[in-house]
């Protein structure tokens, strides 16, 4: 459904430019040869840290941005040569809240964007009513978007992207900035789309989202795809496993391979694979006689979190600090 071959993107910026100074030219390689094939009906998550190249890749697929080199094909159509045809195949939800006309109501926004997709007005209205039902906004048809909460705007943006029944939906960080209820509401909509078989390419840096929604995950780092698979496969391949994080009131003596992180105030944290926890606790208990005491034990549930940090080169003990 979507294929990318050798896609690169280099941004050119000018540093220290002024009124009468052109500044120093600098090239930033945002994408470095992305090869990718997404099958019809797949729900693909694109996971990466800030600045990894996620949004750049999505914008290129969405025809908003021209690649420096490479080929992007959506449903058999070249996205660089025939962007208008490709745009009919895509529903796109960009990051941020300003993706709708705030002075217009929910229905007026949907009718406008339905018109931009060349839908007859009556069909656009019927489709809008269905979509507002789908995203839980049927009680807010005639309310202007400026009165909406962030979560409502995001759900309306998803409805807007679906107005012409696109075979492909592109989402850029759809839940950023939302509270847990807002996140759950958006996820509910996305789960329904997954069940319907809509092809989705979604960028995120939310581990929970990456673990729960996509059927396939791509991890991108510094413009390159690092790995590809289901969240479970990626976690298993990276050697990541469920970890226990111990908070200790003094520095313990531990075996090699276990990293101790100083938290300050005489407190230390220690991450240990679950399988080694009983032995370590026994050891600490024995050491406790000499003054080492256990303050707290927590479990790092997200194996993907750890896998991501391993793959993207962050030290493991830092991972253990995260919630």
């Amino acid at each position: 459904m979507i294929s990318c071959r050798g896609v690169t993107k280099t941004y050119v910026v000018r540093e220290r430019a002024g009124f009468f100074r052109r500044g120093v030219r600098r090239e930033i390689e945002a994408l470095r040869g992305i090869d990718l094939a997404i099958a019809r009906g797949a729900f693909v998550g694109l996971l990466g840290r800030n600045g990894a190249g996620k949004t750049t890749l999505l914008k290129i697929v969405a025809t908003l941005l021209l690649p420096t080199a490479g080929e992007v094909v959506v449903d058999g159509i070249d996205a660089v040569r025939e962007p208008t045809r490709v745009r009919r195949k895509l529903g796109v939800v960009l990051a941020g809240e300003r993706t709708l006309y705030w002075k217009l109501t929910a229905m007026e926004n949907l009718l406008l964007f339905g018109g931009l997709q060349d839908l007859p007005r009556r069909e656009a209205r019927e489709r809008s009513e269905d979509l507002l039902e789908l995203v839980g906004l049927s009680g807010f048809v005639d309310v202007s978007v400026e009165k909406f909460s962030s979560g409502m705007r995001k759900r309306l943006a998803i409805a807007r992207a679906l107005i012409h029944r696109p075979p492909v939906l592109i989402l850029d960080e759809p839940t950023t900035g939302l509270d847990p209820h807002g996140v759950e509401e958006v996820w509910e909509v996305l789960r329904a789309l997954r069940e319907e078989g809509t092809t989705v390419l979604m960028a995120t840096h939310n581990m929970l989202e990456a673990e729960r929604l996509p059927t396939r995950l791509l991890i991108i780092e510094e413009g390159k795809l690092l790995t590809d698979g289901t969240p479970q496969e990626i976690t298993a391949r990276s050697g990541a496993q469920r970890m226990a994080v111990l908070t200790l009131g003094s520095r313990p003596k531990v075996d090699e391979g276990l990293l101790v992180h100083e938290l300050g105030g005489g407190m230390y944290s220690l991450a240990v694979p679950m399988g080694r926890l009983p032995a370590l606790l026994a050891q600490l208990q024995a050491d406790g006689v000499d003054g080492v005491h256990l303050v707290n034990v927590g479990i790092v549930e997200s194996g993907l979190w750890e896998a991501f940090l391993r793959l993207t080169g962050r030290p493991f003990d830092t991972a253990a600090e995260e919630p």
Binding site: T63, L65, L90, G96, R98, K103, L112, F113, D118, R160
Partner: protein, 252 residues
Amino acid sequence: MRSLLALVRKELLDLRAYPLDLLSYAISPALAVTPYLLLARLFGFDEGLVDSVAVGLLLWYWLSTLFWGVGFGLQEEMEEGVLETVLVHPVSIFTVLGAKAVVTVILNLYITGAMAAWFFAFGVPLVFPWPAFLGLVLLGGLGVSGFALGLAGLVLFYKRVYGIGDLFEHGLGALSGMTMPAAHLPRGLWLVSRLLPLSYAIESVRRVIAGDGVGPEVGLLVGLGLAYLVLGHRLLAVAERGMRAAGTTGEF
């Protein structure tokens, strides 16, 4: 066509959000040009000349609002942050600006009605041939649209170009003979005025008022207008491609 209609409808719905703007449209343009008319009356010019000044101002006003409405049309979407969302739809940037032009014409009809009432109250009834006026506005609009598309391209590239907009609007107005026939300009400026389609539009409409009919300058008006339109179209297309290549579609 559905895209254009949807965009026009959106622009008109936007007006609903700020209803007092409609009052401003009824008053401000008239207040801006009335002093010129009163001066013409004060110095005892005959009615024909007063009409000539009025029509020059009116024509300039129509075309300058078209210039601003289209030229800065994309700036509204950029400020609202919705330009990128519009650009991922199968609608050309020229259609978006076309909708701005249609709404500008609708607003101008409203403004002209208000202006005519205003002038009438000041003892300057606008009794000139409206069909010829509107026809010449349409033809003058070709060239002005070319400048406006070029300006829209500059907006995409530089984001803020109010200075250029002012320069073009007032420069074009003065050089085209808005308040004084271009023939009275110094020779150098007169030569520049010969390159501006608006000069021929104003001269034509004044000729019609004087009862001389449409002159040969209409050919130049159309020819130059089309040339500027092609140039403006090309500049905007290049700017759009540059923006998509540079990745600045979301910047403002």
